[in-house]
Symmetry: C2
Subunit: 411 residues, 2 copies
């Protein structure tokens, strides 16, 4: 016998988007060591963790150093103190009623959105918006739920819902039957949102078609407008058709500390081939207890501190800071005559490249001529071609400097 | 369309071993609130984290609270400082030469041993020792690499290598062709070990048959005897046929802090159906960058501190403490006329039940008559029936009390 590879992995495009960005940046910096490059590419926060979080984090580390307060293995789905804080802090204010055992704490929304697909048969048809956060696609490719990538940049067997300036970045309902729909709102990468009515259309579709929505709300904290739902469970009937993913990464600067959670309502059912119903909540619990050991205890205490009055105040200050950057980018580029969306309820600004320039060409132009690193829209899917993503996570000073540099370019 | 479940999940036995243990314990404690139950079941540490670890942990949390030292997303495979410390601290002293990019830091060996199977085609034949750490089996069931469980407690399509008192807990080489072999030494649950010569037989088998060994060395720190290898890479040629899993959980009390790593040598190749070779190191890197976001930065600094002189001294004291408990259990039970293995190079003591009593019956006897919780051997596989696992992780005082209680039982 010979050990055999999972050949689905061989269908993946060889270069992960951000790896290619990093490669080009490294090459440029090696050749131009004197240049001061401003990073507006990867969606990583820059503000330190709030003081309330740091204090809780350290106190919990101290507990781990004392015999009478030391904690070993914790519950795989998270400690009750954090699950309770989440239900009360994130959902009660929205009028959404959840039980704590519908909350599963994890070390990242990337892990959760990737791992969740393990619960579903390979025969399910998957729909994604296009452009899309590539993890949704790649994890389904790795699992064998697609064919190879076609010449148009789409994987065989996957249903793409285009989101472009033409439809104001609002995906249409699938025109062919699908079983599972990934939605991310506020959207990565476009920064666009769905109103309650727009999102309700998808919930209604899922209810009518016994489909499932995987709703990624990692950026909900950036919402500033009233008619944008923070949770899909604000829509009637969503608990029977949707799993929601949340993260402390962008909300509270936890990209390096690692904590997130997902909501799997007990009302969610999935069917086997004989038509018998199974609880997704129970299946996810089985998956997590078998393949995961829970989040570091001090990290969970740090996350809990976000929900204190002081914690809330501090994280809001950071969000406001990033939103100020977003506004500056949005307004500066609009003033230059560029077509721009996002940046109002999101740290992402989605720019139409001038003169329909290909995304990677615009990437090289910004890097070489203005020493700014962004992310080529085409890296997020075929409908991202001709677009470019900038993020609001740098300092205000650097963001301002970047806008000045861009203003000197001639397109 | 209707969203369809991954039916492989439905093949899993409904009760996870430790959940059933917890259920029976909870029932007993509710009915006997006055009884003082001693936990010797789940393999969880009890000693607090070493002072050197706590200091590094807190210092790193402080860094996360300052703008100039804050860290966001880290490398998915771990920071260089930790990977370097691992190579120098764990492998150089063994004469094993590894590159740092052969080390992948993660949040747990359970996650790693579960997730690694994603890299392999479902057509691979899997061998496990019996009894076995159930995660190896369950994750392959979930992936569809087995049929249903048969009446004898074995899953169809899986190859079981029995380890019982009859063969001194040394598995024979597979008598039918297999592609992937899970080995865990020092063994969970039996506490047994393989000598260099015994392990070399498996390495030779893998080399001759182009098979892969998944070697779980989570308990290597408990090894006290000279002829027992700490790493499979001490065996010539193992780098071409083995992945090794390590954990800080038992080594350094990290069960609640969460940090582990695995070694995927660059010499490891796997084949596709056309016979082309692919690097497992590259495939695992792709899996981890797509589905994982790295370990919490402060936790990685905490893990690094294990390798300082002070850290090494402190963790050795804890290991010695647990080994003293193990010796006490081993000797006490032997004095009572029970047949016992393990406990010399392992925190686990594997007891033959008296008079061939079924494992769960012995569980109930110990719980009801001596108020001691252990783990029924049958929960680890059919060859575990008639055995029972006790762990050395309680306090010395409680361990002594437990042995006194058992000495008063009549079998």
């Amino acid at each position: 016998m010979v050990v055999k590879v999972n050949e689905n992995y061989l269908l993946l495009k060889s270069n992960y988007l951000f790896a290619e960005v990093a490669n080009r940046l490294e090459k440029y910096e090696n050749e131009h060591p004197d240049k001061d490059v401003i990073a507006m590419g990867i969606g990583d926060v820059t503000k330190p963790l709030p003081k309330a979080v740091i204090k809780a984090f350290k106190d919990a580390v101290d507990e781990m150093g004392q015999a009478d307060t030391f904690r070993g293995y914790g519950p795989e789905h998270g400690y009750e103190f954090l699950r309770e804080a989440i239900v009360k802090g994130d959902f009660e204010p929205l009028g959404v009623d959840l039980d704590i055992d519908e909350i599963f704490v994890s070390d990242g929304a990337k892990c959760d959105t990737g791992n969740i697909q393990e619960l579903f048969a390979n025969s399910n048809t998957i729909a994604v918006t296009d452009p899309v956060y590539t993890v949704y696609v790649d994890t389904n490719v790795m699992a064998g739920r697609t064919g190879p990538m076609k010449d148009d940049g789409m994987y065989e067997g996957l249903v793409y819902l285009p989101c472009t300036a033409e439809n104001d970045f609002e995906p249409e309902l699938p025109s062919e039957p699908v079983d599972i729909i990934y939605l991310c709102y506020p959207n990565n990468p476009t920064g666009s949102t769905l109103t309650r009515d727009q999102l309700a259309k998808f919930v209604d579709y899922a209810r009518e078609n016994e489909a499932l929505i995987l709703f990624d709300a990692a950026y909900e904290r950036f919402i500033t407008e009233d008619n944008i739902p923070h949770s899909i469970y604000e829509i009637d009937g969503a608990k029977e058709v949707a799993i929601e993913f949340r993260s402390f990464s962008k909300t509270a600067g936890f990209t390096g500390a690692r904590c997130a959670y997902c909501v799997v309502p007990k009302a969610l059912k999935v069917k086997d081939s004989e038509g018998n119903e199974h609880s997704l909540n129970a299946l996810w619990d089985r998956r997590q207890t078998t393949k995961f050991n829970g989040v570091s205890y001090p990290v969970q205490r740090a996350a809990e501190a976000i929900y204190t009055e002081e914690g809330q105040k501090e994280i809001q200050e950071n969000i406001d800071y990033y939103l100020k950057n977003a506004k500056l980018i949005r307004e500066s580029l609009t003033d230059l005559g560029l077509t721009v969306s996002g940046g109002i309820n999101s740290p992402y600004i989605w720019v139409k490249t001038p003169n329909n320039m290909p995304s990677w060409e615009f990437f090289d132009l910004l890097l070489n001529e203005a020493n700014i690193v962004g992310t080529p829209g085409s890296g997020f899917g075929p409908s991202g071609e001709g677009y470019f993503r900038l993020t609001a996570f740098n300092t205000y000073e650097n963001t301002k400097e970047a806008m000045e540099r861009i203003s000197k370019l001639s397109f």
